[in-house]
């Protein structure tokens, strides 16, 4: 059943909160997500997004969001958006992948981590490796006060 509502009327289910927070690490990629959207045309139901869900067993029941009044151009745009999302994910820079790995490790249960084939002891480096963004030894970020003092020393220490 379709239920359209304003985004502001929607709250997050508490059970979904940890997963949402982990997913949020990909926020800057601007993903748009994909439910199965479809239009009715000449008696048939024509899907144009939610590709991952479309290829399943023939007898599986799908929730489909039926829409009306879309032009072919809008349909094409929506379909390409979904493909672009994949492109953005695959092209995500190491920084984003590492942040994603960090949030996953923070929010996922040990069982889930184990399910991903990640040992709990080395979860973060292993997951980052899996995401093709191996963690490098990063120096701890410079405290602002240290940066100020360093600039002062560098500037000849006048005053």
């Amino acid at each position: 059943m379709n239920h359209r509502c304003l985004r502001s009327a929607l709250a997050l289910h508490p059970s979904a909160a940890p997963a949402f927070d982990a997913w949020s690490a990909l926020g800057e990629l601007g993903l748009r997500g994909a439910a199965v959207r479809a239009v009715r045309l000449e008696g048939g139901v024509l899907a144009f997004t939610g590709f991952a869900r479309l290829s399943g067993a023939a007898e599986e029941e799908l929730d489909v969001q039926l829409e009306e009044g879309l032009t072919p151009a809008q349909v094409a745009e929506a379909a390409w958006e979904e493909v672009e999302d994949v492109l953005r994910l695959l092209a995500a820079p190491p920084r984003v992948r590492q942040a994603f790995a960090r949030e996953l490790v923070r929010h996922a249960s040990a069982a889930r981590l184990a399910g991903w084939g990640v040992s709990v002891g080395r979860a973060l480096p292993a997951l980052a490796q899996r995401l093709h963004a191996p963690l490098r030894e990063e120096p701890a970020p410079l405290r602002i006060i240290d940066a100020i003092l360093a600039r002062r020393r560098g500037g000849g220490g006048s005053g």
Partner: protein, 739 residues
């Protein structure tokens, strides 16, 4: 089987031997547990029966056990009984009277019950602030009469809105509806007033006095000056990092006050009324003096000063002439001149002879060492200010007895009023004040104790300026020949006073580095809570630091209280930054600060958007109310967030914790920096004092009759704007949600 007598004994008290106040807390905790964790009524489904309201059951049980009354046993009959008991004595407890007002089991009756609940609640809320306010009684009484006498009018309120704001609007609409008899209008008005009062009440902002460690009890100290005893101290200090050194806080605290000592003379046989009149006269004189303490008190005129200098320089060898001239030149009482001449090398005030035999005054103002990183320290532990006497005043002039009475007597025929030692000693500060010198500068030049003058704590004055004022006084006011110290000598270079002297490049680095950190913290339109919190905290800190620096706001918990205290159009901001005592004043935000406040509001709205899905409660209860620009719904402007999106209010401790990696020096460095800078920029001294909230009794800049105007604030805000630009302080965009 237990004995039958046990059944008649009162059950053991629920909370045992707890004291009443602890019992209240225990009761509250129990209620909180029930309300937080027990479910209300759960409707049945197929295969599961309906669950009754367990929460209500538990609460009812609590009431029964705690008070010995069955909670569910409040039947109409009980209320009728109460009403009967109150008959003829309704005025004695309007609250109980309204509670026991019978209502019909009709639609109007339901409305009545709901209205009674609202009015009783509004009365209780108001009673916490003003228990005896007549508005409470009036509303309670009129609600009761409305239910009893005019149920028809009550029905016109149906259905009663669920929100308080809507309820007030509905009552107001009914009150203003055409054709309503005046009698009924007068009945509704008090009810609407009380409800509206609750609706408009802002949440009280509590500033805990001492938070955490570093508190110190400052005992009350008595200092006798003639008939007056000055009382200082008597409060707990806040941690030094938060509000500066104990001495600073004491100078800032509302001055302790003066007490009058009436010496009881057993030999005084004056009758009672005479003694009383005499006491009143003394008290009045003391009060006048207190009012006028920093102001001029019978100042010497320029003519009198000129005659005095003429006599003193014409006959320098006359007894006491040297002492009087020294007193006049340095603004010190003759007794102080004597003690300073005899003082040890380490003394606070010392008069000594230089190599050329000329007198020089060395002053040391023991300003406490600030909490400062060693590398930022630019002051030796104890500094000294050396002022040179006019050319002809040598150490030899202070030989002999200090009696100058003969000289003063010689002057008497030439002057309209008698010359006194006190008027001579005060002339320097009076003249400097009239010439436009700052209170801190005058304090430094005349050896005032910084505990008496908060301004001195906050001011690092250029030595060149101090020497200039001293020389101008000797030359212009007294017409004496002055030799200034060599330019470039230690006496004319650097600054004197407050130990917090931050170079411009430190300030530039501070704001530069923070902006760089904010760029690193930029997020997309969606981000994990920890990232959002880090970005928000850094941005709140930047905004807060900028506003502290732009207004001289004292560091306190919940600074800049509400956004509705700031007029974004004009930049006018109302500041109330004292934990205790009066300290509220107006300031004008310079354009940079105004832009930053606007940016912070945009930031709050964006924060609300980003948190709407993961933490909707935080958004509705804290984030959006902080961005409210008018009305009662606002909550304090600044807050921090924890890594899991939990709220951390802006206490001093929270500010210090957040600053630990950014700029860990005592929080009021902004006031030190701002005051010193404005003074160096030649801003009008009374404007600086008005901005920083330093005023003395009788001279408050925002009191009625004050000559201080908005125009003065505007001039000051332009100077602050220029200073902020020199320090590289610029408005900064929110790091949230930028694609």
């Amino acid at each position: 089987m237990s004995g039958g007598w046990e059944e008649h004994e009162a059950p053991p008290p629920l909370f045992g031997p707890l004291l009443p106040e602890d019992r209240a807390i225990a009761l509250r905790a129990t209620i909180g547990l029930f309300e937080g964790h027990l479910p209300g009524r759960i409707a049945g489904t197929a295969g599961r029966p309906t669950e009754p309201d367990r929460r209500a059951e538990a609460l009812a049980a609590l009431v029964t056990v705690e008070t010995g009354m069955a909670a569910e046993a409040v039947r109409p009959a009980d209320l009728t009984r109460i009403a009967a008991r109150l008959r003829g004595r309704l005025q004695e407890s309007p609250f109980a009277a309204l509670l026991a007002t019978p209502s019909e089991p009709s639609a109007a009756g339901v409305i009545a019950e709901e209205l009674v609940a609202w009015v009783l609640a509004a009365a209780l809320v108001r009673m916490r602030e003003a228990p005896r306010e007549n508005a409470i009684t009036a509303a309670l009484r009129n609600t009761r009469l409305l239910i009893v006498q005019d149920p028809g009018l009550l029905a016109r309120l149906a259905p009663l809105p669920t929100g308080l704001g809507a309820l007030v609007a509905k009552v107001r609409a009914l009150e203003e509806s055409a054709g309503l008899p005046t009698r009924l209008r007068h009945r509704l008005a008090p009810i609407r007033y009380l409800l509206d009062r609750w609706n408009r009440s802002k949440p009280a902002i509590f500033r805990p006095g001492g938070e955490g460690n570093g508190e110190e009890e400052r005992p009350v100290r008595r200092q006798r000056e003639g008939d007056i005893v000055r009382l200082t101290g008597g409060f707990r200090t806040a941690p030094m990092m938060a509000e500066g050194t104990a001495a600073e806080q004491e100078a800032e605290a509302a001055s302790g006050g003066d007490a009058l000592v009436v010496v009881e003379d057993m030999g005084d046989l004056a009758p009672g009324p005479v003694l009383r009149r005499r006491t009143v006269r003394i008290a009045r004189a003391v009060a006048t003096r207190a009012l006028a303490l920093p102001a001029e008190n019978d100042p010497m005129t320029a003519h009198e000063a000129a005659r005095l200098v003429e006599v003193l320089t014409h006959d320098p060898a006359a007894p006491g002439a040297g002492h009087l001239l020294t007193s006049l030149a340095f603004g010190l009482p003759v007794e102080t001149v004597l003690s300073a001449r005899a003082a040890a090398v380490t003394a606070r005030l010392r008069l000594s002879a230089g190599p050329d035999g000329r007198l020089a005054l060395s002053l040391v103002h023991r300003l406490p060492d600030p909490e400062l990183i060693e590398e930022l320290r630019s002051r030796a532990a104890e500094e000294c200010l050396v002022l040179l006497a006019p050319r002809d005043l040598t150490a030899g002039a202070l030989q002999g007895p200090p009696a100058g009475t003969e000289i003063l007597a010689r002057l008497r025929p030439r002057l309209a009023r008698p010359m006194t030692a006190g008027r001579i000693a005060r002339y320097k500060s009076d003249w400097l004040r009239r010439a436009g010198a700052d209170m801190a500068v005058i304090g430094f030049l005349t050896g005032v104790d910084p505990a008496r003058r908060a301004q001195m704590h906050y001011t690092a004055a250029h030595r060149a300026d101090l020497q200039d004022w001293h020389a101008r006084y000797l030359g212009e006011a007294l017409g004496l020949t002055v030799t200034r110290p060599e330019p470039g000598s230690p006496e004319t270079s650097g600054a004197y006073g407050s130990g917090i002297r931050l170079d411009d490049d430190i300030l530039r680095a501070l704001f530069d580095e923070q902006r760089r950190r904010l760029r690193d913290l930029r997020t997309g339109p969606v981000a994990p809570l920890s990232r959002i919190a880090a970005a928000h905290n850094a941005f709140a800190l930047y905004t807060l630091m900028l506003l502290y620096l732009a207004t001289g706001h004292r560091p306190v918990s919940h600074p800049f209280e509400l956004l509705s205290d700031i007029d974004l159009e004009t930049g006018l901001v109302w500041i109330a930054d004292k934990a205790t005592g009066p300290g509220s004043r107006a300031a004008l935000l310079p354009p940079v600060a105004r832009a930053q406040v606007a940016a912070f509001r945009t930031h709050l709205l964006r924060l609300a958007e980003m948190l709407a899905l993961p933490t909707p409660g935080l958004v509705t209860q804290r984030v959006r109310p902080a961005a409210v620009t008018a009305g009662p719904a606002g909550r304090t402007l600044f807050f921090f967030l924890g890594a899991r999106g939990e709220l951390r209010e802006m206490t001093l401790q929270a500010q210090l914790a957040e600053l630990a990696d950014v700029f860990p020096i005592q929080l009021n460095w902004t006031r030190h920096t701002l005051r010193s800078r404005l003074l160096a920029d030649r801003a009008a001294p009374q404007s600086i004092d008005a901005l920083l909230g330093h005023s003395h009794l009788g001279e408050e800049p925002f009191a009625s009759g004050s000559g201080f105007s908005m125009g003065d604030l505007r001039v000051l805000s332009l100077r602050i704007e220029a200073a902020l630009q020199d320090w590289g302080v610029t408005p900064c965009e929110t790091p949230l949600g930028a694609r």
